[in-house]
Amino acid sequence: MTRTNLNRFGTLIAFVLLCIGFSIAAPAAFASPANVFNLVQQMATLAIVATAATLVMTISEFDLSVGFSASLAAVICFVLFGQGYDVWLAVPAALLVGIVGGAANGVLVARFGIPSFVATLALGTILSGFAFGLSGGQSLFQSVPDGFKSLARGDVFGIPVLGFWIVAVLGVAAFVLTQTEFGRRLRAIGGNAQAARLAGLPIVRDVIVTFAIAGGLSALAGLLLASRLGSVQHTMGEPLLLPAYAAVFIGTTASPTGAPTVAGTLLGVAITGVMVNGMTIVGVEPFVQKIMTGVIILVAVLLRRVGRAR
């Protein structure tokens, strides 16, 4: 138990040290309420996509289409705006596309037994082709209703709206994974798919549902990003892919059994977010930033071993 806690603390300690370090280096700027506000906003889309990745990794699969789904959802939403459709139609339509795309991933994986890496990359490429075609390769920013912009901007009682999204999405995901029957089933499938099937779990259905949720969350992240930026490019979601999985894997190092957890993923997102933000504030050279990014991540995951026997 103690050892476990020390492990868990390791990565958390790294995070705290990072925050302390930046607070000393740039006390006024880094530790200011405004920056915390910014940080929360900046982390939101990544946190949501990383949650999608967490769910999929819980069943021991990969979803490489998350970034493509995010882009496509944003493009569809803005194309619909351009044709005069309302927020209440455009947003659900875009989310639905994400969910359907995700479900298709699930079908390819669960029904047809295609390795998820191939299935989701291929399907993601198809989605990105549609995003490209629909946007005409252009940046879309016209006729965006104000209602849509308020999805991800501003604050309520001083707390950024995106903060509420983080709490809502990650809170629900954490609850589902740890407290519900569905979450248990996902862990079982990820732990031993053969045994899960023989224990009577509806594996095919659960896998499809998981990928569909991941697709829906990715689409949501794409929409929030679009709302935050007010414009859409057809490749905008792609840079989310690697950081999302990096966050999940950093998170697994903070979990006693090495399984992905929502809390661990949030820690991973927070570490990467704070790192980039802090280094930009301090004004580190771009190439040094890259080197430091790698170093800090390694230190963070190595620290967890401080408490390890042997």
Binding site: R184, N192, A199
Partner: protein, 495 residues
Amino acid sequence: MLELSGISRRFGATHALEDVSLALSEGEVLGLVGPNGAGKSTLIKIIAGADRPDAGEIRIDGTPVQFHSAHDAYAAGIRVIHQDAPLVPGFDTVENCYLGRAYPRRFGRIDRKAMRRAIAEVAADIAPELDLDLPVMFLPPAERQFVRLLRAVADKGRLLILDEPTAALPAEDAERFYDVLRRTRERGTSIILVSHRLDEIADFCGRAVVIRDGRIVARFVESEVKPESMIAAMGGSASERSTRATDTSAPKIIEIDGVTAGDLTRPAALDVHAGEVIALYGLAGSGRSSLLNAIWGAIPWVGKMRLAGADYAPRSPRQAIARGVSCVPADRHRSGLFVSEDLVFNKTLPLLSGYRRLRGLPVPDVKAEQAEFVVAAERVSLSYGDPKQLARTLSGGNQQKLIFARWANRHSKVMLLDEPTEGVDVMAKATIKDIIRAIAADGNAVLVSTSDRDEALELGDRIAVFRQGGIVRVFTRAEASAEALSAAAQSREAA
């Protein structure tokens, strides 16, 4: 040649081994027995370099040694089959047997032909029908056990350690293995044998030690090595054979008609009445598991089945559960356990929706689950430290009990059990048999596949003997005897 002194090993609060001292001389055969969780496998892992003791010393030929890896022990001439030893799934039998060994070479290249020849020679004695060139992931569980046996005896060393080598093997298959083992013994190899089949120990070992709670509690030599005395030292008593007769007037619970599936290549027919326990007996690969898996909906099957008078055609275990069927699958590691999850998780998974606090809300009541776990664990005499410990930290036999415990409290109409007592100690075996009988006595049907011939005889109201993918004969209790079962299982003529 081997001396252990003062070996201790702790896992958290569990003292798996405490101050164990033991000596083995050249060519000696030692039996190591004890209840589940006594520390046998831990001791073996330490001797094999797969684990390190917290305290104590290992000496070989009088020289203290420290094994930092399994390779060190191997280099010292120690050969082991661990309990539930993992194999490399993509490798065929030959490659698995050569893992970690020096490969034969011809003109500098690895000589696959020589490898195959060497393994085929041993396989001819132990498992003549084993396909040596198929990746083991495609082999059924029993055949994978043959691979482990081959691996152990094909590579000659000074000391051979076997941790429950025959746990799921029928007596006839086990006998072939012991024949080979005898020759190994005659060559002067020392052997340590762990088994819960105490008659095997009595037959084979000149000396035996009994471990309980991590300590050696008794040592026997030569004629003292008897099942009764060992059971007594373990703190149990031998069970008796029940005498009941089938009530053929009771309603049929399950009717199987012309079913083929997987290895069950010849259409099988079998009816099971309420209150009846049917034991399925046969050599490895004879089709027993396939029948159970078909009834469980786990593999594709053809034919006709009826359950409680209605048509029954399960296409997934889920459908089977919905109809009141329960199943303990064979090969707990591949098909049963979630080793990285805790005990409660493992216990309640298949019937999770039964633990809701609010009926419509799929959120398990953790307290209720835990309470039920404690009761079930008690019932199957599971020995564990904490309900929250991970399943991988249980001893082999206790893992098996955990899987069995899943269904122990359920009122199943049909209970399918595939090797439910694999690796379980004699006392717990008796408990499990009692539970099985109690379940049947409630008016349910039980089909239990077991490789333990005595268990088949004790449990079965009737005994269906399988041979080469079909049922060759169904014995009534009165007709059955060890000799008759063996004869049927090995008979040359088809039914």
